[in-house]
Amino acid sequence: MDYTIKIGGEAGQGIQTIGGSLAKALSRSGYHVFTHQDYESRVRGGHNFYQIRFSDKPVSAIREKVDILVAFDTESILRHETELTVNGIIIYDSSFHKQKHNEPYFLDVPFSDLALEHGGNKIMLNTAATGAVLGMLGIETEILIGLIKEDFRTKGDEIISGNIKAAAAGHEYTKNKCAKCSFTITEPSNKKMLINGTEAIGLGAIASGCKFYSAYPMTPATGIMNYIADKEEEYGIIVEQAEDEISAINMALGASFAGVRAMTGTSGGGFALMQEGVSLAGMTETPIVIALGQRPGPATGLPTRTEQADLLFLLHSGHGEFPKIVFAPGTPEQAFYLTNKAFELSEKYQVPAFVITDQYLADTQWTYDSFASDKIKYVDRRLRGDELTKLPEYRRHAFTDSGISPLAVPGASRHLVVTDSDEHDEDGHITENAETRNKMVEKRLFKKMPLIREEISPPLLYGDKEPDILLVGWGSTYGVIKEVVDILSNEKRIAMLHFSEIYPFPLEKKLNYLSLLNNSKLAICIENNATCQFARLIKAETGYIFFENEIKKYDGRPFTLDGLLGEVNAHIRRL
């Protein structure tokens, strides 16, 4: 069982509401769900769609074929009719469209009339449509009813019962009238959690004891701020909407200096503004976590679409030379744990740590049985309380064997905490002394870098352990590459090599990825950008060259399973 539901319409028509409740109803029923949204940079109108793939087996990518299309406007029919599978069905409300469709794969469902008649308000047509889809699939409405009760909790009994009736009416209608519906649904299993990349980063930050988040809104990073802001009171966090990204990073550095874990998040343009602050974190050795949600550039690019094209910019961000840590999670699960690791290492080594995502990972929802909170690491490495008060003396930038100086909380003792964006001495005071400069560079860069590199996990090898064909990816392409490997592994010795911890570049001693690359007959680097930035990074770090074996996509859309499979097969055929 592997079905795809697509809900299409204009912005403002409630596409997200229907998609959201369907996805949640399915994940609660225990199915594996993968959702993806496609929207334009506008608040009303245009063409948007929400796509849900669900199965009894794990799913991690989008398909091009659609089993149920819910069309809220004519545009959705025109654009997506050809995507229907053999048994696919389009449901629509003919009162919305100028015409009635007589082809057998159309089912006219009067969403709006059903809502008015049964629920008491046309507004409830979204709920009627959600019920209708479940009716077509032959899935009962109890779970949906439960969701309605939760979602409208604050709206009163009348609204709740109206929506429940609208859902039931939609369900009844398709259950009885959909003659062509022939979906076979497996038995529901244990309920799953449904989470997207954005929420996973926010959750990871909260789980890491983040207490201060400052940002200026920019898609697709805004969601992290929204998620954390919603939890401010519960977890004792301050979320500050700064006047610009320059302020956002400087505020976070201020908060971190003052003694709390701090984070900021932005997208390419905002990150461009933050450069000096990144460098300031490097010089003052102030811990900070920065989420970078990529979207297509240059400049404002395609604001609501996806791309993996800021990797090299990020790696070279900030002027001057200092260590940084860069993680590129491929799934919400990785986003959760890597955000935690970013906080851990950022504080341990007092360097900026980055979590790089993109619009695609930010918005896609995945299902999991659970996240293990016992895998979360939290060690407060700041000197405070007695530990600090009892120190005979304190120097913020003291030279140590490890290069890591004690990080004290200012004001918590008589010891002064002094730091500077200028080169400074061990006390933190400005100096231009050449010898001190050398020692500081050695401390910040040469001593810390090897230690940080030891902490970096190797890339993930998925599939054949001695592959002929190796598909290499990083970040958000994880899911789709993995499914390509699943499909092709019946006939080929194929594997995925996925990098999610990318700077400092992983050591080969934990996994000899270079020999895997060299021993394969075909290694292909797959990236959502135009210049194969990761391939260039591998070349710079290891000397390995992919030559022409690259699959790239830079139209602002993510890879689809069918699309990538076709391209990989084309490379294999040329072997």
């Binding site: 959690m193 301050i238 003052a258 300031l280 003792s413 008589r414 002064l416 905490v417």
Partner: protein, 283 residues
């Protein structure tokens, strides 16, 4: 009790005769007289001659980027609102590079004290015009004279309903010391613009020039009358008023944040067990 000896920092690298020396002295004396210990406050500064200030006294210091003092100060203050947080900046630093942050710091009304060493010139980069340089002043960079109008920090502060707006003068250290104390005691954001002769690059606004013009605002003046304050803030030229131009009792930003009602953020411990509740919402 702290003594002036406790406030002895590094030897300043300012030009002999620079107005910054007097500001430093007034500041240290004010701290000693208020009984504030060096570890009890933090000074955030940016880049410029003025910005070297915290190194020349004794305190917790974050000497960050040009123009970015106020965001850092805001972050520190929100994380620990029991700490006295001050920002020291040049006029270029604060009104030029950091202009946007000033607007928003005033709007937020975080309890940060901003001391601007206003020498009406860029000192460290050797004499270019700053936002407060008089119109028509010629410099190496402005050979035809400054075309833009001169920024009026006092009027700006009043217009934005800044909660404390005052002007001091480096040549009048006793009076300046009083203003520094008032600013520290005030609850809310304080903008103190300090006229500071730059003996190396500003040949117009000299000690003599100021000496002939500055006067103390009369004791009867009510700084809480915003319209009168606006009038007073526009005085510049033959007569330049020193003192508190405007003051109000707006609530501070920190007062409004529910999370830190009980204790500062920095003292709140983190409890991982609460995470389960956040996780539940995803089912």
């Amino acid at each position: 009790m702290p003594t002036l000896e406790d406030y002895k920092g590094q030897t300043p690298a300012w030009c002999p005769g620079c107005g910054n020396f007097n500001i430093l002295r007034s500041f240290n004396e004010a701290m000693v007289e208020m009984g504030i210990e060096p570890h009890q406050f933090t000074i955030v500064s940016g880049i410029g001659q003025a910005a070297k200030f915290p190194h020349y006294t004794k305190c917790n210091t974050f000497n960050g980027l040009h123009g970015r003092t106020l965001p850092v100060a805001t972050g520190i203050r929100l994380a620990n609102h029991e700490m006295i947080v001050m920002a020291v900046a040049g006029d270029g630093d604060c009104y030029g590079e950091g202009g946007n942050h000033l607007l928003h710091a005033i709007r937020r009304n975080v309890n940060v004290k901003l001391f601007v060493h206003d020498n009406q010139v860029y000192g460290l980069t050797k004499g270019q015009a700053s936002p407060t340089t008089g119109e028509g002043t010629k410099t190496k960079n402005q050979p035809f004279g400054v075309f833009s109008s001169q920024l009026n920090p006092m009027a700006l502060g009043v217009a934005l309903d800044c909660s404390f707006v005052a002007r001091g003068y480096a040549g009048d250290s006793e009076h300046l010391k009083g203003l520094i104390k008032e600013a520290v005691h005030h609850k809310g954001f304080a903008l103190v613009d300090i006229l500071q002769p730059c003996v190396s690059f500003n040949k117009v606004n000299t000690y003599k020039w100021y000496g002939e013009r500055v006067y103390h605002i009369e004791p009867e003046y009510n700084p809480e009358d915003r319209l009168k304050a606006f009038e007073r803030s526009l005085e510049w030229g033959d007569k330049i008023p020193l003192g508190i131009i405007y003051r109000n009792n707006r609530h501070t930003y920190e007062d409004m944040i529910p999370v830190i009602k009980e204790s500062p953020l920095v003292n709140q411990s983190f409890d991982l067990s609460k995470l389960e509740a956040a996780l539940k919402e995803f089912y």
